[in-house]
Every structure is written in C-alpha cells, then in structure tokens.
Symmetry: C2
Subunit: 410 residues, 2 copies
C-alpha cells in the first residue's frame, strides 16, 4: 500500500517527485519552465534533471528558441515512456484484467481472463502469476525495467498486510495474502489496493493538471464502490478501506439488506439486484441466478438488448436505477462537496446509454449546495481497464513518489 | 474562508507555521527539540524563533539542563497566550455563542444570547456586533491584540463571498453577507465557515498531536451535520459546504422527506423530529410545535426529564434515535474509513446519557471494515461552545498559517 502523506519524505526526494510529475504530465518542458512551474531554484531543477537523465527516465527531446529575447535555446525534456514499466492486475469476481503500463501511463499491452471459481483462491493466484509472465513474454519488454505489480482487489482489504479479507463477491476468499503470494510467484515488488481506489488513482494519473479538483469515482462492477481524490490526496482511510457505499439506502421500498435496513445500494443497484428485479417484473426469464458472476453478466446482457429494443418496462427499471445511483452519489457529494463525479466499470460501460442522461440532473436536484457548486458528471475516459490501469499506476506512484523504498530512483 | 492547501505558501512561511504549531501544542520546547521534531536545521529554527520572540508571540520560559552530556542548558520556549486573541461567534438558530480565545486556545471569556427571530437577519447582525464589543470591553483585552473574528454559521454558505445562503433552520436568511457585515460593524477581519467544520477545527486545534488520525465530528444541534478532518486536512469541499448529512436515509419507515425519500436524518434525527415523534406517541403533549427553535428546545427538555424518570416509551424512542444516528455515522465511516468519531452540540449534551452507550456498538456492527479497523466514538471535550471555539480557531488558523494575508506575522 502506498500512503501519501504517511511518510516524511526528504525535501530533495519531494522536489524530484514534483519535477518528474511535471515532466510526465507535460508534452515537454524545459528546465526554465520546470523552475517556473515548481518554484524550485534553477540549480535544484538542473541537479534533479541530471539524475533523471542519468537514470534514462527522461531525455532531451530537442531545442526550442526562447519565447522572447536572445540567449541559449531551451532544451525540452520528455519522459522516456519505455524506460520503466508497471504491471496492473484487476481482480474482479468475473474477470481478471492485466495491463502493462509504460511510465508515461500508456497501455503497452493488456489481456483479460475469466476469473476462476471464487472457491479456489490458490488457482486464481497461480493464474495471475502465469498471465503476468505471459503478458511480459508477449510484449517483449525487459523485465529489469518492470518496477512492480499492482493489484486492484475488491474490499475489504488488510492494507498493511496486503491481504484480501472476505470480499462479499468472492465467496471463497478468506484473508488471502494476495500481495505476498503474487510477489513470491513473480519475483516483483507488489502493491495491493482496493479496486475503487485504484480506479480513482488511474484517473488522477491521467489528468493533465491534477491537484485542484476533487472527485469521486463511482465504480459500477459486480459490486459498487467509490474511489475518492480530495485535492492532492487519494482518500484511503485509516485501514485502506475507504469508499464503501454498499449500505447507503437509496430506495425505502427496496428489498431488505443484511445490515437491517432496506433498499441499500448493495441490494438495489448492483447487477445482481438489477437482474433479480428484472426477473421479478417478468422482463427476464426467472432463471434464479445466484451469486454466479457470469450468469448475472449474461442476464445483464439480455436486459441491455431489451433496453436497446425500447422495451418500456426495462427502460422504466433503468430510470429507477439511475435515480438510485443518483441518490447514492448525492450522499457522497453532499458529504464531501466534490467538484466532479466520474463513473466507470463494466456495468457502467453497458448501461451508460440509459443512465448518463438522467444521473447528472437527478444528482443536481439532490445537492444541498446546488446553485453554489456545480458538480460535473462524466464517464471515465479510461474504459473498462480503468481498475487494472489504476493498479499499475499504484506501482508507478510508489516508484516515483519520494519514499525511502522508491523502486525507481533509490 | 481559510483553505489549507489552496495556496502555495513559501517554504519559509510554512516552516514558521510548523515551528509555532509545535510550540503551541507542547508545554514548552527548546530550539534543539524543535529542530528534532520539525526536521528543520538549527539555524532555521533559531531564525524563526527570533522573529516570534520579537513579535512577543513566544517567550523564553526558563532553562533546563540538557538530558545528557555537558553543554549549555537549553532554553524552553513557550507560547504567550495573552499575546494575541481571536473572537469566535457561533450563529445557531436558537442561541448565539461568543468566545474570546487566547492564542494558546484557552477560553478567556464567553457569553450566550438568544438568537433574534430568524425573520430579521439585520437585527442579528447588530446584536453580534454589540456583543463582540461587550465581550472585549468586559474582558479588558487590548483590541490591538485581537487578530480577528470567526463566525460559525449553518450551511449552506457561499464560502468565497462570506455569505449565509438559505439555511433550512433560519427561515428569513437569504444570502446574508454576514462576513462583510460583521467586518464592517466591528472593524476586525472576519472569517466565515460552516458550523460543523468549525467544530472539527476546534477539535483539531486542541489535540496534543494532530495530523495522523482522521475523524468525523458529528454535530447534533437544531440541524445535524458532520465536520471532517482527514489526516492533515480539514475537508471543506469545493464550495465550503462539505459535511451535509441531512439526506442520508436512516429509517426506511420514517416520515417523508422533501428530497423524495423517507426517514432521512433531517426528518428523523433532529430535535424537531424527535419532539414530533414523541408527540405522536403521546410521550409529550401535542403542542404542534413548528420550526420555532426555542419551543422545540423546551419540548426536548421535557423529553429528557421523562427519560431521566425511566419512562419506557421515551427510552425506546431514544434507543431508536441512537440507531438512526449510528446508521448515519456508518455511512460516513464506511465511505471515509475514519479513525474516530467525535460527537457534540447541544442535542448531544442533553441526550448523551441515553445515546453514548448504544451508538458505538451499533456503529461497530454496521462497519464494512469491522475487525480490521476500530473506530473510536467519544463526546467532545470542548462542551457546548465547541462551535464558537472553532470559529475563533479559524481566525488563529488564518493568522498562524503560512499565507500571504497572515494577520499576525505578515
């Protein structure tokens, strides 16, 4: 687990991370521009750049004449995207997603595999190790340039120990030490974080100018959760388990929930809940799907077909779903007054055409600070791999961050 | 509005704030200890202390022999509590609270006045100005040492403009420019923040060693809200309106809410809701109290008497209230994974004997990360004045923080 702020980095390490972050996010920056944007002295910037050039992480990409006045032309510095890589793995109850990410955040290669039965975590661990090996072999990257593996897993997690703790949608998983198992199997350093947090980290990594705007990333998968970035900080919480929204009630007439309430997100917004409701309404044949992720997935596909055909009952159900999601988001937005909501995940990907118009306006009507603060709502630009991409970004964060255990620059 | 992190303080200003913060929280620190705890160089610490001594904000409080070895005895530095003051005002719909706070966070003087009718904001503004004058006259402090006035107001607020915007429990208040009105009336710089945020700021100010633990401050007043401190940061949100929990549903069988749901905090946990339910159950005479804060307050007092007498119906109602509050807190804690919950406000003060045993255990049972992360629940140690104390702390924060507009050290 990477915890920003939990350590006390040296000023030098911090400065180096700031410089690298600026170079990474820009298409090219000169030393003079770096000094201007970071507020660091020219000498400090120059020393840091020398170290990064030595390590092959940045390169001199050309010279541009200074905008005004005479003097030496400025050398543009760019990140070398192929200088370092990270592997990201998203452990979803129905699908395993693997990405190989360059240090510039570009996806070099990716693959998906069906998740083995939740009753056999050891088999899943073996598959993850095998597929990471396969991904690296296929891509042909030098393993010495791979700084580590990030894993995005359903919560709750024991962040300190790198353990997956009884996630509700992985029935056979009881305190599985996934981080250490993957580290042992692959030989790479491994970081583990919650899937929703990884998705938020992916968004932040791929922003041009982060830091100012706060956002909530609503992940709609087999389960629903939120990743939070407030200002500069990824909100992980005291035990790394921030972002649980499953027991926010969104429908007082909804089905009973294990928590003792009714109509919580967990029982009225998940794909399983949607499919169950569609079956109860006769919109889908009552196949009595259990918690089997794949059969729910297939039923959802049939529901999408009905919606695409304009079936009134299905469209009404999706309207109610939009309202429930908006009510969950309203709780988050009223509590945290975030600037933006980003939505992603496989359920979003398929239902967005019927949800994306309603959710923003329903949400806006439910905000206490409406009229004072517009909350933008948008789908992620990173697609269905956002969890895996975020997992890889965790590794890059750990590698680039000014920490004693920096994998990259230490 | 003070926004930490929104500005880019100079390193020097930041270091000074860090040193002052350390001195403030300790009973006395030497320059050597300051260098150790802050990580700053001896020379930097020495320069900063010289400036603070010159300004009369700290004093040399004595000499202690170094713990080990020979050498010059260390001079202990202490904050001069009487060197600067701040006034805090809590605008509550039923009562105005005024405190005069020393720079050490000690309450020098305080007073309360009934809040004038909500239909006449101008009268309230005049009363606030008069009472601030009276407070300063009575206390006899040098006005030149008063760095400003902080106001804690019910939300929503327009933080940028210092405006109170249609708070639900102040019916006649429509976009009242309270900050500027009080600044004009008193001649002091004024900061305005939400009441619940101010309460959280008060808690943080009075902690011995802040920074690590995150907490939610649940304020139980005429309305309910949450102040949030995550790690180093007070969470204010993009428009300064974080902390709204009024529309978290906590009772699916509760009364309808304006938001279209049922049993939200706003209609099932507030003093008004509690009194209405007690009347409906025949526990209190059905006097049909409206939104009149004082009559609700008096009815609550009668309810407390019944509870103290052991009335079974009243005790059952308070048990349900504890569960509702625990359910609201569970939403906050599951989303943010905070380390602690602190509860305060006038409703808490009176009902704590019947709520404080149930809430922690109910909350614990509702946490997704239970078993992984213990969430401590405790009442505030700052009493009913916590909002006003927090308002004064906002001023001290603004004065001590490394900002260009520092009132104190600029």
């Amino acid at each position: 687990m990477v915890r920003r702020g939990a350590n006390q980095p040296s000023v030098g390490g911090y400065n180096q991370a700031v410089v690298l972050d600026q170079i990474r996010r820009a298409d090219g920056l000169s030393r003079v521009e770096l000094a201007e944007t970071t507020g660091l002295s020219a000498q400090t910037v120059s020393n840091i750049c020398a170290r990064l050039l030595d390590a092959g992480i940045i390169e001199e990409a050309g010279r541009a004449a200074a905008a005004a006045g005479p003097g030496k032309p400025r050398t543009t510095l760019r990140l070398v995207g192929t200088s370092r890589y990270a592997v990201g793995v998203h452990l979803d109850p129905s699908v395993l997603t693997f990405v190989l990410l360059g240090i510039d955040g570009a996806v070099v290669d990716s693959r998906t595999r069906p998740t083995p039965s939740a009753n056999d975590p050891a088999r899943t661990v073996r598959l993850i190790v095998t597929e990471i090996d396969g991904l690296l072999d296929t891509s042909g990257v030098d393993r010495a340039r791979v700084v580590g593996v990030g894993i995005a897993a359903p919560g709750p997690i024991d962040a300190e120990r790198g353990v997956v703790v009884d996630p509700p949608n992985l029935a056979g998983w009881h305190r599985v030490p996934l981080r250490d198992a993957i580290a042992q199997g692959t030989g790479f350093p491994v970081v583990l974080d919650k899937d929703v947090t990884a998705a938020a980290v992916a968004e932040r990594w791929h922003e041009r100018a982060p830091g100012g705007a706060s956002f909530a990333f609503l992940y709609l998968g087999i389960g629903l959760g939120v990743g939070l970035v407030l200002g500069e900080d990824v909100v992980r919480g005291g035990s790394g388990n921030a972002g649980e929204i499953g027991h926010i009630p969104v429908d007082p007439d909804g089905p009973p929930c294990a928590c003792g309430s009714r109509g919580c997100v967990a029982v009225s917004c998940t794909p399983a809940a949607l499919v169950a409701e569609a079956e109860a309404l006769g919109l889908l044949p009552a196949t009595h799907v259990d918690d089997d992720a794949r059969s729910i997935d297939e039923a959802l596909t049939r529901l999408v077909v009905r919606a695409a055909d304009g079936d009134a009952g299905t469209l009404a159900l999706l309207e109610r779903t939009a309202e429930r999601i908006a009510r969950a988001l309203a709780v988050v937005c009223n509590l945290l007054d975030v600037d933006r909501v980003i939505i992603g995940g496989p359920m979003w990907h398929r239902l967005a055409p019927w949800l994306e118009a309603d959710i923003p306006q329903l949400l806006a009507s439910l905000l206490v600070a409406r009229g004072l603060h517009h909350v933008a709502v948008a789908g992620t630009g990173l697609g269905d791999d956002v969890g895996a991409i975020g997992a890889a970004c965790l590794v890059l964060d750990a590698a680039l961050a000014p920490q004693p255990r920096s994998l990259l620059l230490g």
